[in-house]
Amino acid sequence: MITKKEIAILKEMRGNARINLVELSNKVGLPVSTVAYKIKKLERGVIKKYVSLMDFSKLGFNIKVICLITPRVEQKSEIISFLLSNKQVNSIYKIDNRYDYLIECIFKTMGDLELFGDQLDNFVTEKEEHFVVENIKTERFLPL
């Protein structure tokens, strides 16, 4: 069972994973050792990972694409291996409703995207692509 104090810790860490234990302890009103213990507990199930979210366009990766895909029935496991090992695939979700997977990919050039698209075409029967024109918000959901 998760406590209110643990929720308070999660809320503080949600948008600032690098917050130090002393600051966190002051914010949630618990001793540093208790905060450290609670973080360890949360890391066993509730916290998935800590990741620095980047504006990849500032690193030269200007193209972000959302692809909705349906693989050929006989290639479902192959496509997952391909997508898991492909370094341009940032995230993969298994979804319902017409398509089987939603994938988010990031590329430096249109050539890279085209090459990826050609590789993907070997596995899919249906594909719908949407270019991300603007990031409005990223990972901002907070538990009540």
Partner: protein
């Protein structure tokens, strides 16, 4: 493009944003003071934030969906502000190819999702929408976690 050493530091932050300066220094062979300065610099530009990714289903939020929406041109800006402010919207993108927005939303149950969509349709002239329930998250925020990609 940043020098290779910076990209290596970034890849470590992508793998574990909470890594201590000492460990980052050991792994990248960059002095701690330099890492401290670089982090400050990145936080004012390249880094949006250092996020903690949470398994929300463990907290009772069991319904997750990606929704793509098409709205009239004159209501696009208004909808963008609405989605940005909505507490249910975790991530929102403006997209092309027949739709205007893609939002990833998190709810306690299907009823909350239903109300969210109904509310959107009441407030705006939604011309088209597709709701894709997330059954499983297979890979999340893995881009640039692998040093091999730096060769790209």
């Amino acid at each position: 493009m940043l020098p290779k050493k910076d990209l290596i530091l970034i890849s470590h932050l992508r793998k574990n944003a909470r890594e201590t300066l000492t460990k980052l220094s050991r792994k990248t062979k960059i002095p701690i003071s330099t890492i401290f300065d670089r982090l400050k610099e990145y936080e004012n530009g390249i880094i949006i934030n250092h996020a903690t990714l949470i398994n929300f289903s463990e907290l009772g939020y069991s319904t997750r969906a990606n929704i793509i929406i098409k709205v009239g041109k004159e209501q696009r800006e208004e909808m963008k502000i609405h989605l940005e402010k909505s507490p249910f919207v975790n991530t929102a993108y403006k997209i092309n190819n027949g739709y205007d927005f893609m939002v990833e939303c998190i709810f306690k149950n299907i009823n909350e999702l239903h109300n969210f969509v109904e509310n959107l349709e009441e407030r705006f002239e939604v011309q088209d929408k597709q709701v894709y329930y997330v059954i499983e998250e297979i890979k999340k925020e893995k881009f640039l976690t692998d040093l091999e990609l730096l060769e790209l």
